[in-house]
């Protein structure tokens, strides 16, 4: 564990920038997001949870799969430097790990790399994640519903704890240990630092709301699939994509070609969401998820039933972004509570 006095943090980041392409929380106009760092002074270390989720670092809103000209296909080369992310909260670090289950691994056919996503892997596999422990969780936070906590280091390579006067860098993964071990010129964390870290973790835990038990939610949701409870839950949803696009774990996408046939163009993938009717609309005009409530149900089934069946985890880490942005205050926590309270 090493300690970096706050006034020397820019020095640390600058050293990181020599080998890594660094992303960190920043303000862009009215909103906050993870942006490539050009000058460490531009990093906003005080941002609670960025408005836009960091999934876009590894899974951009719009990503070129390849370019073409006539019949020729050309893969686009990306910046060869590996990615380092600074200032990622625990919830977001775990979100990336969930997305890695989808894109990174070949879970369906373990010996078949056809099912690995090269665009995700070329970015995430070599990345290093410096996560920031949450000292002041907010009322919209519910990471503790998923067995995590504000000072949890899961999904991080190095956990960073802000003790007031310094950042303490606590390596979590092998990669993190290797990196911290390779550093020179930084003091070891003191006993006092460790005491402060423990105190901060305790305070943060206290600030969290009560844990809501979600045991058996995947079966419960499946049993309720055809029940009228979804009419009630779905009544106020206006089917926009705010929740899905701001979500750190929603990862559905569309593939589209831009440019003209036989000429120059590119094939891109773009974020998409099950909330939009055209997501499943077939060429015949038939739509298996025709009604607003069918689509809302799909989103929650994916998070709390299907994903557990397929990957053994909830597709939600309790970051609370959707709670904040939903224009009709359709609170994901309330949906879970309503479902769990419902008799099948």
């Amino acid at each position: 564990m090493i300690r970096i006095e706050k006034e020397r943090i820019d020095e640390f980041i600058r050293a990181l920038m020599e080998t890594w392409s660094v992303y960190a929380p920043a303000r862009d106009g009215k909103n906050t997001l993870f942006a490539p760092v050009e000058d460490p002074a531009g990093i906003d270390h005080g941002i609670f949870n960025t408005d836009k989720s960091p999934k876009e670092i590894f899974f951009p809103h719009s990503e070129v799969l390849f370019e073409f000209e006539g019949g020729e296909i050309k893969k686009v080369e990306r910046d060869a430097r590996p990615i380092a992310v600074w200032g990622l909260r625990g919830c977001d670090a775990r979100s990336l790990r969930l997305l890695d289950k989808v894109f990174g691994s070949a879970w369906q056919k373990p010996d078949n790399d056809m099912f690995e996503d090269p665009y995700w892997k070329e970015k995430y596999d070599d990345s290093i994640i410096f996560g920031t422990a949450c000292n002041e969780p907010r009322s919209t936070c519910f990471c503790n519903w998923f067995g995590a906590g504000p000072h949890d280091g899961a999904g991080m390579d190095v956990k960073v704890v802000d003790t007031g006067e310094a950042f303490i860098l606590d390596p979590v993964s092998e990669k993190g240990k290797k990196y911290i071990g390779s550093l020179k010129g930084w003091a070891e964390a003191t006993k006092k630092d460790v005491t402060k870290m423990k105190a901060a973790a305790k305070e943060a835990d206290k600030a969290m709301g009560e844990v809501f038990g979600m045991d058996g939610i995947q079966e419960k949701m499946a049993d309720l699939f055809l029940k009228p409870v979804w009419n009630d839950i779905g009544a106020k949803c206006v089917n926009c994509g705010a929740c899905a696009f701001i979500c750190s774990t929603c990862h559905c996408f569309d593939v589209q070609d831009e440019g003209k046939k036989g000429k120059k163009g590119k094939r891109i993938r773009i974020w998409d969401t099950c909330m939009f009717p055209i997501f499943t609309m077939e060429a015949s005009g038939h739509n298996p998820r025709d009604m607003s409530k069918d689509r809302l149900r799909q989103r929650f089934m994916h998070k709390f039933s299907y994903f557990i069946n397929n990957y053994d985890e909830h597709l939600c880490t309790g970051c609370g972004r959707c709670v904040i942005v939903c224009p009709v205050n359709l609170d994901i926590r309330e949906v879970v509570r309503e479902v769990m309270a419902c008799e099948a």
């Binding site: 019949g71 090269p118 699939f225 569309d254 046939k261 099950c274 060429a283 994916h302």
Partner: protein, 277 residues
């Protein structure tokens, strides 16, 4: 690391128009690169994404059988902008495909059993693949019965091949059209009704149903009425698809993705998924 999103190059070798309205065309494609041909292993029931640069992609079931090693066959109905462009293709043109994708009809499981194949309209593509495959491995299977329905006589696809099959005594071909038509002396009536009339024996028999959703919907209860067990009935589903590798999220029914867990499912599996129908 391979990149599944990059299509492999195919050349259009042969085009056949299947119907008087020219809305159905069959394409035989050959591999441009020998390497791709070697790596492309498939089974009846699988599908490919056709990839037209600048237009996008559309999934189609493979109509050729893996026993036909020289080409891949597809039959494409003109319904949207991508399929429209596909219909403009000429022999010699180059296109991209990605695949093979999805699972296949359980031909291993069928071994030693009788097989009833029920199809409708132009969804007969992967059923052709299955029939050709089984005829090639004829001794592995018992009786093969094919019930195939179309709106009118001219709307059957693979007409020449079907007449060849009709001449054989190791396969029973039952064709039906919706309404009586001049010059047609075969059966008339919808596929579910005709299936009920033919009433194939359930003994050691597997059934494969593939056709328009409405046909499947009404045929499945008939099969249950005839006492076929749910785990002996197989069907192939369709949904809007994009990636074909279980990631883009749109083709799921419940926890299953049609593109990787399907398109072939047994009725027993589907009954566990409320969204399937």
């Amino acid at each position: 690391m391979s990149n599944t999103y990059i299509p492999i190059q195919m050349k259009v070798e042969r085009i056949e128009i299947e119907d008087p309205d020219k809305a159905l065309r069959t394409f035989d494609l050959v591999f441009v690169n020998e390497e791709d041909k070697k790596n492309f292993e498939y089974m009846p029931g699988q599908f490919c994404e056709w990839s037209l640069l600048g237009l996008g992609e559309s999934p189609f079931g493979i109509a050729s059988s893996p026993t036909e090693t020289d080409f891949l066959r597809f039959t494409v109905s003109r319904t949207g902008s991508v399929t429209n462009e596909i219909h403009y293709l000429r022999e010699g043109d180059t296109i991209g495909i990605r695949g093979p994708m999805g699972n296949w009809y359980p031909v291993e499981k069928f071994k030693g059993g009788n097989v009833v194949i029920i199809g409708g309209g132009f969804a007969f593509t992967t059923l052709r693949s299955l029939i050709v495959y089984m005829l090639e491995h004829r001794k592995d299977y018992g009786d093969i019965t094919v019930i195939y329905g179309a709106r009118a006589p001219e709307l059957f696809i693979y007409k020449d091949e079907i007449s060849e099959w009709q001449k054989r005594d190791d396969i029973d071909i039952q064709l039906t059209i919706d309404n009586p038509a001049e010059g047609w002396d075969g059966r008339t009536g919808f596929v579910p009704t005709v299936t009920k009339e033919i009433a194939p024996s359930t003994e050691n028999t597997w059934v494969v149903v593939c056709g328009p959703p409405i046909m499947i919907k009404f045929t499945l209860p008939v099969l249950s009425e005839l006492k076929f067990a749910d785990d002996r009935i197989y069907t192939s589903l369709e949904r809007r698809m994009k990636c074909g590798i279980g990631k883009c999220g749109r083709c799921n029914i419940g926890s299953k993705y049609i593109c990787i867990d399907g398109p072939v499912f047994s009725l027993a599996e589907l009954k566990k998924i409320p969204e399937a129908f």
